[in-house]
């Protein structure tokens, strides 16, 4: 058993650096179990506890751009296909960066 990450892992990490084309706000689907794991992870405080499930404010969601490689809500969510891109909010990377600068004017 090798102790370093395998080749597959390196490939996978490399693939994550590929250029992403479509950016969208993240939405929480109705299979949310309201565990609240996502709440403290969002760098923009875009997530709030709704009834019955948690909700993401699309005006505040930047897909974690500028903070993390991937949306943190999806990364910590115990359910797959719960924190998913919202096709109603397609944005460009530039728009998301501008949004991030607006939310965090001091960087």
């Amino acid at each position: 058993m090798e102790s370093a990450p395998g080749a597959g892992l390196r490939r996978l990490i490399a693939s994550k650096e590929m250029v992403k084309e479509a950016w969208m706000s993240i939405m929480i689907a109705d299979n949310c179990i309201s565990c609240g794991a996502c709440l403290p992870e969002c760098p923009n405080d875009a997530i709030s506890e709704g009834d019955p499930i948690y909700v993401i404010d699309p005006d505040l969601c930047t897909e974690c751009i500028g903070f993390h490689d991937e949306p943190q809500c999806a990364a910590v969510c115990p359910i797959d296909e719960c924190c998913i891109p919202d096709p109603n909010y397609v944005e460009t990377k530039e728009q998301l960066l501008a949004k991030k600068d607006r939310i965090h004017p001091n960087g």
Binding site: E2, A4, P5, G6, L9, I33, V76, P78
Partner: protein, 625 residues
């Protein structure tokens, strides 16, 4: 001289799937470590590891006992012995957390929920440095009254607990055993209806820091780690960070953990699991039946099970498949099909646990604590997932128990074991062989229990045949006319016809007793009669209920001369109706599969019949649900 604290984790009195693999639960080890750090002379006995030395127990200043539901009777016996010797007994664990009143009958103190804070506040209070009334999570005696203080909030800062010291466990040698368990988190965000984990540890997912987990692996240096988390991958980001650190530090013993199917769908996580030396995963598939998955609130589909199996097989990570069988939506076929699929999927090992209403689970609260459903057994030692303790809806408790064991026997067959050997997967071969052996012993040990369950189905029929030995068999069953006129009537006639028996109607005796002849006339012409039972009359059913009552009275007065009466439970929420039908069916066939087929076909017939589908009366709900 230091005062002595003895901690005991009693073992189950019955054999169970983990009998041959002792992975100790951490509670007593952690508490023992904390006590030792505070200057106590500590002994820790985990009965699955080494026998309890009663001399040590009875020379302690305080004894602490940790209990699960299935070990509760054993724990209570020990508590009584210790209490009789005048030594204070503290009891803790899941079972007593939810039933502290019961536990106080045997112990002086009950520590409810997580014990590490409560226990030490209790010790302080016992030594005069605090008040019992103020200790959250404690139940205790005040004079002759049982008092329950408010619950204690869940512990947030898990890292403040010391690393559990396995060296305290009598008879344990990590290097010899090669394995330990490490808890990296507590709690589960899901709410499966059969599970008591969220009730005990909450939905919030509380985690140890990664540094702490790394340190715990380093200190113990085992060959294999079982991560004792209820759901190791609840927070995938954090699991990835942990596995990356293990790899970076070169601390990659073989490991296993309890996970869900979703884990397989995150390629990065799967790669990291492989790279960090994941040996096997314990997946709570729970059921191959989509309806059952929904009923359990598992939030998982059959398709996801299949996909996850493929992914783990491809990654070369062995799977221990965990299933819960016997839900109201299951029948025997579901159970045997589970074992067949598990073989097809080449799972390394499986456990088919019989659905068990554990105190603290939503099922227990909704069905059994309310009295909506009846428990067949209240001996907690039977609550180990290998004994049917309630009536399922589509089979008898006997068939459920037989199928759960029988299907595991199918899985651990010589054919499957030799297949593992052919693949040169010697570890799996060994595990499977061990399980086969265990099942054989289980059968021997539980023959009496299975016999008892069987007799609940066949007893009436066997009695009936004996008492009417002078009368020839008629292959006929007497059914009250008012039942035949009800919605249930056509179903019953069809059911008995499928068993090769015919229905003889009889008129119910009139309350004033002037014409009971109709019923008395059928004596000798039928093998048994159907005695409908309803617990209470609902609106619109008063007349129906009255007829049942007068029939009941008549039968009570004519016990000697009446044909054998079999109760047909009409309005119970559990599987009583099915059990009744099986008892009736047993008069005409020994083959319970035939009874089941007849039942299934009858229900299918009712469902497709347009006249009854729309306006089902309450009495029929049982037969069609």
């Amino acid at each position: 001289m230091a005062k002595k604290f003895v901690l005991v984790e009693p073992k189950s009195t019955h054999l169970h799937v983990y009998s041959s693999f002792t992975i100790p639960r951490l509670g007593v080890i952690l508490l023992g470590t904390m006590l030792r750090d505070r200057g106590w002379d500590v002994r820790v006995y985990i009965e699955d590891v080494a026998p309890v030395d009663m001399k040590e127990v009875l020379s302690a200043d305080i004894v602490g006992i940790s209990t699960l539901t299935s070990t509760a009777p054993q724990s209570y016996r020990l508590a009584e012995t210790v209490r009789k010797a005048g030594i204070p007994v503290v009891i803790g664990g899941t079972h007593v957390t939810f039933l502290p009143d019961e536990a106080l009958d045997f112990a002086d103190y009950v520590v409810r929920g997580e014990g590490e804070e409560t226990l030490f506040e209790l010790i302080d209070a016992m030594e005069g440095r605090g008040e019992m009334e103020k200790i959250l999570g404690l139940s205790y005696w005040k004079g002759s009254r049982k008092l329950h203080n408010p619950d204690r909030p869940l512990k947030e800062d898990l890292d403040s607990n010391p690393i559990p010291d396995y060296g305290l466990v009598e008879g344990w040698n990590t290097q010899k055993r090669g394995l330990i368990s490490i808890a990296t988190s507590r709690g589960c965000p899901f709410t499966c209806t059969f599970c008591s984990v969220p009730g005990m540890y909450g939905h919030g997912f509380r985690m140890h820091s990664i540094e702490r987990v790394i340190e715990e692996i380093r200190v113990n240096n085992p060959k294999y780690v079982f991560f004792a988390d209820d759901l190791f991958t609840a927070n995938r980001k954090r699991t990835k960070d942990l596995l990356k650190r293990m790899i970076e530090e070169g601390l990659t013993p073989e490991w296993g953990a309890q996970i869900r199917t979703e884990t397989a769908f995150d390629p990065e996580l799967l790669e990291l699991m492989k790279a960090s030396n994941c040996f096997n995963v314990f997946i709570g598939f729970e059921s191959i039946n989509p309806q059952t998955l929904d009923l359990f609130n598992k939030r998982q589909t059959y398709e996801k099970i299949v996909r996850s199996v493929e992914a783990f097989n491809k990654a070369g990570i062995r799977i221990h498949g965990m299933f819960v069988v016997g839900a109201d939506t299951d029948d025997k076929d579901t159970i045997y099909e589970t074992a067949r699929l598990a073989q097809e999927w080449q799972l390394q090992s499986i456990q088919l646990m019989i659905l068990t209403p554990l105190p603290g689970s939503p099922d227990f609260d909704h069905f059994y604590a309310t009295g909506n459903r009846e428990l067949l057994y209240k001996d907690w030692s039977l609550y180990d997932g290998h004994h049917a303790v309630y009536r399922p809806k589509n089979m008898t408790a006997y068939e459920l128990n037989e199928a759960a064991i029988g299907a595991m026997e199918d899985f651990y067959s010589w054919k499957n074991i030799s297949r593992s050997a052919m693949r040169r997967d010697y570890y799996s071969t060994l595990i499977q062989f061990g399980a086969k052996h265990l099942l054989k012993n289980w059968r021997r040990e539980n023959q009496g229990f299975l016999e008892e369950l069987r007799s609940t189905v066949f007893e009436k029929a066997e009695e009936g045949i004996e008492s009417s030995s002078r009368n020839p068999r008629t292959n006929r069953v007497g059914v009250p006319r008012f039942i035949l006129d009800s919605e249930l009537g056509s179903g019953l006639v069809a059911f008995f016809a499928r068993l090769g028996s015919s229905v003889v109607p009889f008129s119910e005796p009139v309350a004033d007793g002037d014409d009971p002849t109709a019923l008395s006339r059928i004596r000798g012409k039928v093998d048994c009669i159907v005695m409908p039972v309803m617990e209470r009359a609902r609106q619109g059913e008063e007349e129906f209920f009255q007829k049942i009552e007068s029939l009941k009275q008549w039968l009570a007065q004519h016990k000697q001369s009446a044909p054998t009466a079999v109760s047909l439970f009409l309005d119970k929420q559990d599987g009583s109706l099915y059990s009744s039908l099986a008892q009736l069916g047993a008069f005409f066939t020994q083959d319970l599969d035939r009874v089941h087929r007849a039942y299934k076909e009858t229900i299918a017939g009712i469902r497709t019949s347009p006249s009854t589908a729309e306006e089902i009366k309450p009495v029929m709900v049982q037969m069609t649900s």
